[in-house]
Symmetry: C2
Subunit: 213 residues, 2 copies
């Protein structure tokens, strides 16, 4: 009867679908089983626990990153491309992003981006310790940016929800904040992301130029 025979990948896919449709809070083993038209306990023949399933979700999402790396390009362009690849999957799986970030994974899915980035930085002339430091800095910025971007859409938000309810800010307690409410309310996520990215790249380039080459 079941054309597809209930496998771990099918379960993970159902979980990702459910998270994207109804948010991470809606995830339950019973719900996933129902979506698959299957008994609850059947899931445990393929997944040891709910926590492991969420780990698998994170790994699966992360493994869908598409790197289009040009080895001949400038290292700054390669860094840009890799950073944008992260943002792209966060855009593709917005509700899953929090899940991915909140569980640190020790699998090979998260290792490939690290390898690529380290290779790029080493190729640009950074020594090992520098490459690791720079990589960590970029990751911190990217993770923080993506969290802001998807955090703005906790539930499906039809209206652009500002970072602060625009009416509630007391102008005498928070003069700057209230005078900048228009700027704070609007947020072009892509432009913001690119802005910080360029800042970091520029800073790294300056430091690289100062030392040695």
């Amino acid at each position: 009867m079941p054309a597809e025979p209930l496998s771990r990948p099918r379960i993970v896919a159902a979980a990702i679908d459910l998270i994207e449709r109804e948010g991470a809070d809606a995830v339950s083993m019973r719900r996933i089983a129902a979506d698959l038209g299957v008994g609850v306990m059947s899931l445990y023949n393929h997944v040891p626990s709910k926590a492991a399933l969420l780990d698998a979700v994170a790994e699966s999402v992360l493994s869908e990153i598409e790197f289009t790396d040009d080895p001949d390009a400038d290292w700054t362009d390669r860094v840009r491309m890799q950073a944008r690849a992260f943002r792209q999957i966060a855009h593709h799986y917005p509700r899953c992003t929090m899940v991915v970030v909140s569980r640190q994974l020790r699998s090979t899915a998260g290792l490939l981006p690290v390898e690529r980035a380290l290779a790029t930085l080493r190729g640009a002339g950074f020594d090992g310790a520098e490459a690791v430091r720079v990589l960590r800095m970029f990751i911190a910025y990217i993770v923080g940016s993506l969290l802001r971007e998807v955090g703005v859409t906790p539930t499906f938000a039809p209206v652009h929800r500002s970072e602060v309810d625009t009416a509630k800010v007391d102008p005498v307690l928070f003069p700057e904040t209230s005078s900048l409410l228009p700027e704070l309310a609007a947020c072009d996520h892509e432009a913001e992301f690119e802005f910080g990215l360029e800042m970091l790249i520029q800073a790294v380039a300056v430091q690289r130029g100062r030392r040695g080459r």
Copy 2:
């Protein structure tokens, strides 16, 4: 009998204590009530729901930031100080950090840091749009950094857990990663935080110098 008469602050404090002692997963209304020596449903006379309680936890933690702002100092020093203030509370409430980050709050507790930062940046000569952009960039970096720092300690970690099990990395698939395992395994969080912070400050300073003053 109860010397203290069960108030919302006492409930929030108990929740924070519990999170720091046993992690966010251990939080349940029954558990908090038990810790307070109180019936479960009594909590609902002061807190409308568990979600609201966690929001209150986030707000409470955030409101404990101690800013020691010197209006006469250089704007770079003031930015440094404000960034470190965030890191300090994340250090003080490591297990709560994920809770704070994962729920975006629209209360005044999160507004005061924003006001301070905007005032600092405006004072340094940035116009409104620039100040907001720069602030968002710093927040993204800080949030990402703190998540890495506390993510390394999901449960109480007696040993320094490396970002990747040092034995499992295939040297032919991941040559850079495996050759840099010592650097990847060790992480001086304060040094890493300061490194990225300096990079960002330097980049912002350069951009500010390029335009106008």
